[in-house]
Amino acid sequence: MDVMKKVPVREQEPNVRNKNFDEVCLGYNEDEAVEEATRCLNCKNARCIQGCPVSINIPEFIHHVTEHKFEEAYKTIGQSSALPAVCGRVCPQESQCEGVCIRGIKGEAISIGKLERFVADWARENDVKPEKAKEMNGKKVAVIGSGPSGLTCAGDLAKLGYDVTIFEALHEAGGVLVYGIPEFRLPKSTVVAHEIENVKSLGVKIETNVVIGKSMTIDQLIDEEGFDAVYIGSGAGLPRFMGIPGENANGVFSANEYLTRSNLMKAFKDDYDTPIARFKKVAVVGGGNVAMDAARTALRLGAEVHIVYRRSEEELPARAEEVHHAKEEGIVFDLLTNPTEILVDENGWVKGIKCVKMELGEPDASGRRRPVEVEGSEFEMELDAVIMSLGTSPNPLIHSTTEGLEVNKRQCIIAEEETGKTTKTGVYAGGDAVTGAATVILAMGAGKAGAKGIHEYLSNK
């Protein structure tokens, strides 16, 4: 064993997995997990804990793993995180816990994410449940949205003895975990459904098919249904488009639509009723994790797929692992390329895109070098579908129907980072609804902060 290197994790072969929707990464088995865990230096001043948005006691859980005490390890994680099987799979560990790992200075960081996943999967397979609150405090909290932020906030409050109800707009709980992230990265019926069951086993109720802002307003939740506080974790679900000619043609999708059809509605399975067209050649515009998810989904549905991104590889906002997986599976990266028009046939269907080549100029406000068009570099690509993955903004349904709830100019709810407190008394918010589209773990961190804020507010009320 080379102590400087990670114990490699088993994956499905690229040429096999690019044709199925089964999970790409197979995870560690017991021996592999214990071996990897023994690489941990058990630092006194553990930087990984500070690197974790929910401050999991990482050295402690890893130490339990070295001693084969997996249930103990699960309990350690459970003190800080309600969704370990999800986070072990989708957190950007390389820029968080693993990014600051001391082992990573001379060698490779500890595979903290893969170990977290192992512990969570072990707990599921061995039916270990999180611990319920000893007694209820009689106070009611409503949580809007059952994504990572809402689930975390609800879980934390339930552990403190609150009577928590989550209201979910869609027919299934999980938010972005079910409609956004594909099966091959995050299995739904096993991993996600189980994490949600765990939150429910803490006493949290989930009411689906309730669109707050339409079915009911926040004021009605407080005045008519008797909730003492509200947490808004409604995410950032509104897709952006480029505003170029031809964008309303048939065959142009937002990544949200394409992924929702495939993930939430399970259109990729023959026995589900929702259709998803199978295309020959698809361009996915954008370079984030969502773009990678859409591209790899289209690939699995039989298309030749191109990522079209206006900056270079270095600026791709997607996680390195996702880009690596996408390339292995055969996705083509057309970098420094920007679409200027969607070409449409006489029946209103996409037949191609017109693009222009870009080069990088001076850094812009984001600190990344600004892409500039190369004059005279226009070219056309023949295609039958385009998926726009340009980011999302928060849905206005809630703030437009809630008096006193203020938003900034990007439509994000204004909330204090430490507590989630908004401009409306008793109403807290966090996750993408506050920050704009970010990651699962940051939303969970905000959910924890919101739970803390609500607990302080209701304890002093």
Partner: protein
Amino acid sequence: MYKIQKAERLSEKIFLMDVEAPRVAKHCQPGQFIIVKMDEKGERIPLTICDYDREKGLVTIVFQIVGASTEKMAKLQAGDSFSDFVGPLGCASELIHTDIDELKKKKIVFIAGGVGTAPVYPQVKWLHEHGVDADVIVGAKTKELIMLEDEMKAVAGNLYITTDDGSYVRKGMGTDVLKNLVNKEGKKYDLCIAIGPLIMMKFVCLLTKELGIPTVVSMNPIMVDGTGMCGACRLQVGDEIKFACVDGPEFDGHKVDFDQAMKRQQMYKTEEGRAMLKLQEGDTHHGGCGNCNE
């Protein structure tokens, strides 16, 4: 689960159901819609709200068989349930935000085409309850497809029924009736609300533009989530892109790009057709439809 209390066949392909959905019934307004899903594997189907009973917690929906999912839905009986029923979605009709005294001064005409009669009804009823009697033109291909006649008669000022084939009351399109009322009978209207097939709404808008009558249409494009998330329902309205689910479903008809909307409506035609064949013919389907390789 959302129980069906009443299921009624209005015509060969049009069905009416009362569904127990107290939260929706409590808050819905004319002009809004719901999304229904039959079971775990079903599609999310957007349908306009035809009526509601806040006390009993009932919402009335009307739908037409257009594909495999609606065909399956038509088989549901009283006592059966939908796994999901979400709403109300979309914005309420402008009417309910308008000052009642203002409304009373206005002459309003509705044009309903086919199954579009269902979403017109709650608006006319709402106006009637607030002391405003609007004229209503109901058009359909043939007598069989005229629906809610008695209900509409009870709440409309004047009800004009017309059929394309002349099998009931009069022959012609809704647009012909409106043209007649304005040009021959000297009626003046300040507002037209047209709900029906895209092609009908397009021609109503062409006519009312000519007649100088501001016109509102209700759009029912392809949708997935119905909450603004997917953008499948986007429409060109003037120089803006709008999402029917959250910005609509009602828009200024003189600004809607109907030709584009009609092209977008065709998007899943082949898939829908295939699904329909699969359902109808089951294991006996062995080619001949032009869509499969067998």
